[in-house]
Amino acid sequence: MSKDNVESTYFRRTSRWKLILVLLIFALIATVIISINVGYAQISFPDILTILAKQIPFLNGFTASSTIQPSAESIILQIRLPRIMAGVLVGAALAAAGVLYQGVFKNPMADSYVLGVSAGAAVGASFSILFGVSFVFLGLRLVQVAAFLGALAAMFLVYNISRVGSRVPVATLLLCGIAVNFFLFAVVGLLEVVAGDELHSIVFWLIGGFSNVLWKDIWAMLPFIVIGVVVAYFYARDLNLLAMGEETAHHLGVNVERSKQILLVLASMITAAAVSICGLVGFVGLMIPHVTRLIIGPDHRILLPTSTIIGAIFLVICDDLARVVATPFASTLELPVGIITMLFGAPFFIILFKRKKQSYSV
């Protein structure tokens, strides 16, 4: 192995990263278009492409829309597309947050449950379902707003309990997070017990699903997720250094406490936005970063963007399955996507992990 070889391989890596990202973006677009075709009403691919093209200003002149039924157009634009876009957004958000949590905590088990973020969202959502579903705040449903605020409140609570002087040790954070998590889920349990007729809604929210997603839910949360992921990317190299241990990162010039604080706030904000759209979709945030790390390697500068896109693709596919697996039994029944992510994601993860176990360590 000559030295030039090592160096050129290293520098070629950057262009390989770009290629991977481009391919993944194409894969995501393909997944979205194919997913539009999935559903009870059969709409052909040419029709789908025509309907989509009509929405794009420069392409609508070239399309002949006369053949397409208005019902097909509204199914696609008002029912399927928002749902798929929610899948893209939520999958991307959860996977990105997972990368951030695992990186900051240097712990493979870390995800949005760790800081009590999910639990906080669950409490907020359960309360709002129980006491005022019809209430609308700034054009958004109360359940969404309450989940978002609940998630952030839980994160700040855990963060401040764990603070020792100006430092927030990771071990304390994990333990406080777990304690607060149990407490909040106990509150959720209590609410479920007294819920009566609303129990069904709470349970559905806790599993997570896209059946009621509207465009405005997506638009409301899009900025949080996009800004969160983009800002987090600026800290990708800090995450690499944090993986070396906090003291080492400190010696290498990272302002550890500040980076940690920013990254945790970003991760929690992204998670809060995602779960407020669709409820607690489990396993994406835990699994996707691992899978991506197996394929791509541990460098967060590529791990974060690839995980984000793979998370989006994964969740969209899971939602496709959620829509179709139950149709042979009952045409209108669909499963919550949270069940699919866990039911199909877990075995897939185990198989992948078994095959590459020897070279993998966290």
Binding site: T9, Y10, T248, L252, G253, V254, P298, D299
Partner: protein
């Protein structure tokens, strides 16, 4: 002195963990090209001192100035450009390649959105070649051995292009070749690049070999500071570590050389004295062991500057001495015999015999003739250490005929001694009782005459 040399000034630093003081009033000053060893027992504050310098643990009192700026007021990135740390514990979370990890050392020199440049790569290559790990560049870190990993960590620290290098027991996981290679490299950088090196050592001799100066910490305070010869004295080692140590100059490296002795065992005094006839280092180990076992020990005749003489001096063992590199004179021989007459038993080590010390063998024979039990250690056959043309061999044969106990090594000797210690004691008392009836002058006179007579 060059003006742009880096300067680290520590003044009156005090650190606590809660209410426990771990550092108290520590002051020191180092500049480019200094190699300072930090010595002291576990818990004496060595690592804490490094932590306070590397801004992990802010001191409650005192200042740490880096080029006259308070190190705690600087930005992390600016400190990391000047100061690198090789920590004790080197666990690494995710499985990065060795090159990736070394390139992380470039972090303080990179802007937030920058990727590694050709220059960063050139630095990484240079330090990885220095630390001899360039061939491992693409290997995942968790597949490397402990020594290789440590080299990667050191390369990463060097990739920071620091002016100050803090090493916290950097050699813990390394074998001897790795230790010397790494320390030679660090020393080289210290001399040529005017790097400041502050290193925590547990091995005095390694410290002595590489450091110019050292501080010795005891319970968080500087017990002694200065050049290695000033700091590493047996008195200092005794009061800080509570261990006896022989401090000499090493013959090959010419640095201070410390031989720590195992802590004094508290065997009860046996009231049984042993006279050693030794020389050329054959008695050194035995002296310490016998003292530990509770015997009182004397030795002679030894030449001044002989290894055994120096050990005896250190252990405060009474010795009959002869001038350096001189044959034993009749006068010293007599003095030795007097000393022997006080002993319960005589032990003769596997010392080589030449014409200069042949009389020691005669002294052993004299002791035997006078009824003092005599042990002969024959680790090396007499043929190989007889430089008297057979005279020593003949005397040794005579010792054997006269009933001297021959043993093959120190361990056999010790077990025999321990078994017969009571017998030895009573034998001596018996002898003293007989001798007590004679006048003191006559004892020695008589003995001498008798010896001479038998020799002829």
């Amino acid at each position: 002195m060059v003006a742009n040399l880096v300067l680290l000034n520590i003044d009156g630093v005090e650190c606590r963990y809660g209410s426990v003081k771990v550092l108290e009033d520590v002051s020191l000053s180092v500049k480019g090209g200094d190699f300072l060893g930090i010595l002291g027992p576990n818990g004496s504050g060595k690592t804490t001192l490094l932590k306070s310098i590397s801004r992990i643990l802010k001191p409650q009192k005192g200042t740490i100035l880096l080029n006259e700026a308070d190190i705690y007021s600087l930005k992390s990135v600016d400190v990391a450009k000047q100061l690198a740390v090789v920590p004790q514990d080197t666990s690494i979370g995710f499985n990065f390649a060795a090159l990736d990890i070394v390139l992380m050392g470039r972090n303080p020199h990179m802007k937030r959105f920058q990727m590694e440049s050709e220059k960063d790569m050139a630095v990484a290559r240079k330090v990885m070649k220095l630390t001899n790990i360039w061939h491992l560049a693409e290997r995942p870190i968790n597949e490397l051995s402990g020594g290789e990993k440590q080299r990667v960590i050191i390369a990463r620290a060097l990739a920071q292009e620091p002016k100050i290098l803090l090493l916290d027991e950097p050699l813990t996981h390394l074998d001897i070749v790795n230790q010397l290679e790494i320390m030679d490299l660090v020393k080289d950088l210290c001399v040529k690049e005017k790097l400041v090196v502050l290193a925590v050592f547990h091995d005095f001799n390694l410290a002595a070999r590489y450091c110019e100066s050292a501080i010795l910490l005891k319970e968080g305070k500087i017990f002694s500071a200065g050049s290695l010869t000033e700091v590493l004295t047996s008195e200092n080692i005794k009061s800080v570590f509570n261990v006896d140590a022989i401090v000499t100059k090493h013959l090959v490296t010419n640095s201070v050389f410390v031989i720590p002795l195992s802590p004094q065992k508290s065997s009860p005094a046996k009231k049984c004295s042993i006279h050693l006839i030794c020389g050329a280092g054959t008695g050194t180990a035995l002296m310490k062991v016998l003292l530990d076992e509770g015997y009182s020990v004397t030795a002679g005749v030894l030449n001044v500057l002989d290894t055994d003489f120096e050990t005896a001096q250190f252990l405060k063992i009474p010795v009959t001495v002869e001038a350096p590199f001189s044959s034993i004179t009749e006068k010293t021989h007599k003095a030795n015999l007097e000393m022997i007459s006080e002993a319960s038993t005589v032990v003769l080590t596997s010392v080589p015999f030449g014409l200069g010390n042949l009389q020691n063998l005669e002294a052993a024979l004299a002791a035997l003739r006078r009824g003092i039990p005599t042990f002969v250690i024959e680790e090396v056959p007499i043929e190989r250490r007889d430089f008297t043309g057979g005279k020593a061999k003949a005397l040794l044969a005579e010792l054997k005929r006269g009933g001297a106990e021959f043993v093959k090594d120190q361990n056999e000797l010790l077990s025999l001694l321990n078994v017969s210690v009571e017998k030895l004691k009573t034998a001596k008392e018996e002898r003293n009782r007989i001798l007590a009836h004679l006048k003191p002058g006559e004892v020695h006179k008589g003995t001498k005459i008798k010896d001479k007579g038998e020799k002829k």
